[in-house]
Amino acid sequence: MRIVIIDDSGLRASVLEEGLHEAGYDDIHIVPPRGGFVARLERMAPDVVLMDLGSPSRDTLEEMLTVSRALARPIAMFVDQSDEAMIGAAIDAGVSAYVVDGLRKERVKPVLELAVRRFNAFAKIQSELDEARSALSDRKVIDRAKSILMNQRSLSEQDAYALLRTAAMNQGKKIVDVAQALITASDLLGGGL
């Protein structure tokens, strides 16, 4: 079974490809939705096409499926239209799938389920990455506020941090917000570091 993944996020495509390999599928191709991707896809004659539901190129792909002679048979988005739970899960995960008509649904269903799981896993990695990134920038802000306090009030690093934390607790705010306010105030007063 030839599976083509249309995706311009390298990471998401690899996450999916890896999962499919592990499950024993070995005819997998990744095609970014750029330029003449439709012609490339046509030549590949895939059995299953997986695509991010959020990709703006879905209309282009569907048009190809409508007019293409290479893929003469109509292609359905979901293998089993009666399986509402599966459809809901796929849409929530952002998976859209096109399957060559005539392929038995019990053969395709595991692929779809795997795609849904992997897309969800990717979304989780993505949000963890975002969190890690913002944690990193939070740390920088707090460090800068600490050094302002250390200089202006001749505090140790530990005491400077304790002061920020107390102020945050008293004001019901996050430490990073208090630190940001301190930096802004210090910049305005011309005492920035």
Partner: protein, 404 residues
């Protein structure tokens, strides 16, 4: 009790009424918490609607007909009780291609028939079969483009290549030379002109004055089961549409639409379609076209059944659906003037007495029978002066010379 409604939209200027309803309090006044779901392809908008992820959608009118007739993936009966706008499209072509057309752009746009013939001649001079981007096979844009090209004997399936791509990728595709021009909703044509990549060749408003464009579509079953929510939403939208039409709100509306969660394009580009001041060639003064895009006035939102049937006639003409009486009836029934009347029964919105009209028969503003208040219909003529009689689809279709 507040009703929560989710409505999917594409980043286009003609999502204006939905955006205004949410952002300027019209939905809230009717007890609706309106959640607008930004979507980047018509396929995904359609799937979200058909599979119930949203209750309503800002949809291409022909796509609503096509989904109902089972022509676009999973068949589902849709219902459109409200038109979100009329007009608003623009065909732009690469500046080099446009050199073969009438150079004075105001004259070019004022004479769509002459320009169609110039376009036909320009095809042979171009280095390849011109590749024209359309946003969807079942878009008002594609149907209008086909109608316009065919008037000059151009077979849109043979003499040009129609390439489907979403509006947000049109400018990029022009830049990469993948397409030679495109027809899309604003602000994308203006964005290509502004980038110096293209100039305007035709505007939708001059091809079919007050031509049907986006509708508010629901699943038919949901519409029938939720009359209360539908009626409240329609009342909110009518007021939002009047607000959008008012020139005093143009700047505010353009700035709203410019936000990253809506169209995400500069406000000055969006403003062009709202005011009808279209810059057709970079650096030239705007060409004033006051009816470029209408939201509320002249009963714009009223879903004339005859307009759904006109769309159907074009799908038949281009071999996208087989013609029979039962299919025509199903197509016509997608537009729901009955729901529009019910929802606005107690409002002061002028209400047409009929549900169908001859399309293209109004050449100058015409006062018509209305259940209430004064109603003047604006000109609705086609550039080729044809008139569509929804009771005589066969006659209308046989009036077109077959393309060789």
């Amino acid at each position: 009790m507040t009703i929560g409604l989710r409505i999917a939209f594409l980043p286009l200027t003609d999502a204006a009424v939905l955006v205004a309803a949410r952002e300027r309090g019209f939905a809230e006044e009717e007890g609706i918490a309106l959640d607008l779901v930004r979507t980047t392809s018509w396929a995904t908008l359609r799937d979200r609607l058909v599979y119930g992820q949203v209750q309503g959608a800002h949809m291409l009118a022909p796509l609503a007909v096509a989904v109902t007739l089972g022509l676009s993936q999973q068949p589902a009966p849709l219902a459109a009780p409200y038109k979100l706008n009329v007009n608003g499209n623009m065909l732009v072509m690469a500046c080099d291609f446009a050199k073969a057309l009438e150079p004075v752009i105001a004259s070019r746009l004022a004479d769509p028939l002459g320009t169609a013939h110039d376009f036909a001649a320009a095809i042979g001079l171009w280095r390849r079969k011109p590749v024209i981007g359309v946003v969807h096979r079942f878009s008002s844009h594609a149907i209008m483009l086909r109608y316009w090209l065919a008037s000059a004997g151009v077979d849109p399936d043979r003499d040009v290549v129609l390439r489907v791509l979403p509006p947000s990728l049109t400018v990029e595709a022009m830049h990469a030379g993948e397409i030679d021009g495109f027809i899309a909703g604003e602000p994308w044509g203006s964005a290509a002109v502004e980038a110096g990549l293209a100039e305007t060749v035709a505007i939708g408003e001059r091809i079919w004055r007050r031509g049907v464009e986006k509708v508010l579509a629901f699943r038919e079953s949901w519409l029938e089961e939720n009359p209360h929510a539908v009626d409240r939403l329609l009342r909110a939208l009518v007021r939002a549409a009047a607000w959008c039409d008012d020139p005093a709100h143009r700047d505010d509306l353009a700035n709203l639409l410019a936000r990253p969660d809506y169209v995400d394009q500069p406000a000055y580009l969006i403003e062009r379609a709202l005011s009808g001041g279209i810059v057709a060639r970079a650096g030239e003064p705007p060409i004033v076209s006051p009816d470029f895009m209408l939201f509320g006035r002249e009963a714009t939102p009223f879903p004339w059944r005859s307009q759904a049937l006109w769309i159907y006639s074009q799908l038949v003409r281009w071999g996208m659906v087989d013609h029979d009486a039962a299919t025509a009836t199903r197509a016509g029934a997608v537009f729901r003037p009955d729901i529009f009347r019910r929802a606005l029964a107690d409002s002061n919105v002028p209400m047409p007495g009929a549900s169908m009209k001859l399309e293209g028969a109004v050449a100058s503003p015409l006062a018509v029978g209305s259940r209430r208040g004064e109603l003047t219909l604006g000109p609705d003529s086609f550039f080729d002066k044809r008139v569509f009689d929804p009771e005589r689809i066969d006659d209308f279709l046989s009036g077109f010379a077959p393309l060789r």
